[in-house]
């Protein structure tokens, strides 16, 4: 749980997983990638698809960056990372447009904007460049999962309180008497929900050791 910075975790997949998904959760602890987290979480379904997109892109780009890490010229590495990330993002976007048209319309530009998501680039730069492919895949899954789970939590509560439904379906015994609070669907609701989730994560995790010195 109290894993030191990634250098010491080499070869330990479980530690990498815990680090990415919990101890160093990209959204709740590092507060990265919140733009998309605020924008697409008005429905649980949107949040889940967006989470899946990020896991796919993070795993794919981490794997490729890690495979190429020994042949990539150092000063060219960032351009290479962005090219690889962009390729995976457009792959996913094309797939959505072809087979999940309605979802693609709802997510709009936010799938394409994963290219600029700091989590993906951050993991490629900070982890995949220094670590072997298998461990990089684990790291990609961990961080993608960390993002997806937080997104799902926010999406769940925003849809529950904002629309009185879950996954577009009415909940027996709840939707009949609950008056949906529009605010939760709108942007302020996203800020409230994200703030509360970040607060709870940090409260459970406890303060950073260096903050106590």
């Amino acid at each position: 749980m109290t894993c030191e910075p990634t250098g010491l975790c080499q070869g330990k997949g479980l530690l990498t997983l815990k680090e990415g998904a919990w101890a160093n959760n990209p959204l709740a602890i590092q507060v990265l990638g919140i733009c998309s987290a605020l924008a697409v979480t008005n429905r649980l379904e949107n949040s889940l698809v967006m989470g899946a997109a990020l896991i796919f892109v993070c795993v794919g780009s981490n794997l490729l960056v890690s495979l190429l890490r020994k042949v990539t010229p150092y000063r060219f590495r960032m351009i290479a990372e962005v090219s690889i990330i962009a390729t995976f993002v457009i792959l996913f976007d094309q797939f959505l447009r072809a087979f999940y048209w309605d979802m693609s319309k709802q997510l709009g530009p936010y799938v394409g904007l994963i290219i600029t998501n700091c989590i993906v680039m951050g993991r490629a730069e900070a982890f995949a460049l220094q670590n072997p492919p298998v461990l990089s895949i684990v790291d990609g899954i961990a961080n993608g999962l960390g993002y997806a789970v937080v997104l799902a939590i926010i999406g769940f509560f925003r849809e529950l309180l904002g629309a009185g439904e879950i996954l577009g379906r009415e909940i027996p015994g709840f939707s009949s008497w609950y008056t949906p609070n529009q605010l939760m669907i709108l942007a302020p609701g996203a800020f409230f929900a994200l703030g509360i989730v970040i607060g709870i994560f940090n409260w459970i995790k406890g303060p950073e050791p260096q903050e106590n010195k």
């Binding site: 990539t72 060219f76 090219s83 690889i84 390729t87 792959l91 094309q94």
Partner: protein, 204 residues
């Protein structure tokens, strides 16, 4: 120098591989994406013509419903979509005409549906717009679009044109503009009037 050549070579190979991969995927998914885009257009036309169909219809079903109910014909510069229910095939219910023009930030496209008298508006819909969310983007809301229902495309004197404006007296061809979206409303009015002019000219 050697280092530079290697970097260039690396960039070339990586770029080529990425673009080949994307080209392959794009050409593989192209037919599905085109079908979706066509169904989307059909859904808009069916909606503005007030054709009744099951809500969860798939792309293929939409294309079929469209072919069963709608006759499209070219009249001058206009493409008209006539809703002809299959049961009584010589009776036109409503007619939809596409319109498009520049909005404030990008192209605006939509359909105008008219009664069979070709004067009374049955509905307006926008299927493509990039106007400011919350201001010009409100043109897609039912609150704005429903105002058009029952309005006439000619004024009392018979001159073609519709007015989108915040002030002035109520008229048979006037709807309220959106506050804070004057530019968008003016541009929508201009593109609607251009189409209305063609419709009226076509009728004579």
């Amino acid at each position: 120098m050697k280092n530079n050549v290697y970097t260039l070579f690396y960039a070339g190979v990586l770029g080529t591989v990425c673009s080949l991969l994307l080209t392959a995927v794009a050409s593989f998914t192209a037919p599905y994406q085109q079908a979706n885009a066509k169904a989307e257009k059909n859904r808009n036309i069916l909606g503005v013509l007030q054709v009744q169909y099951a809500p969860g219809a798939s792309s293929q079903e939409l294309v079929q419903i469209f072919e069963d109910n709608v006759l499209s014909e070219q009249k001058g510069v206009l493409t008209m979509y006539r809703y002809v229910p299959p049961k009584d095939s010589d009776k036109t219910e409503t007619v939809a005409v596409g319109f498009e023009g520049p909005g404030l930030w990008g192209p605006v496209k939509g359909f105008l549906a008219l009664d069979k008298d070709m004067r009374t508006i049955r509905g307006v819909t926008f299927y493509e717009q990039e106007e400011t969310p919350g201001l010009g983007g409100e043109i897609v809301t039912a609150g704005f679009r429903d105002q058009f229902v029952g309005k006439s495309i000619v004024d009392e004197a018979g001159n073609p044109g519709i007015i989108i404006s915040s002030g002035g007296d109520p008229a048979a061809n006037k709807v309220d503009a959106i506050s804070g979206a004057t530019m968008t409303c003016d541009k929508v009015q201009a593109m609607l009037n251009e189409t209305i002019k063609s419709i009226v000219e076509e009728k004579q």
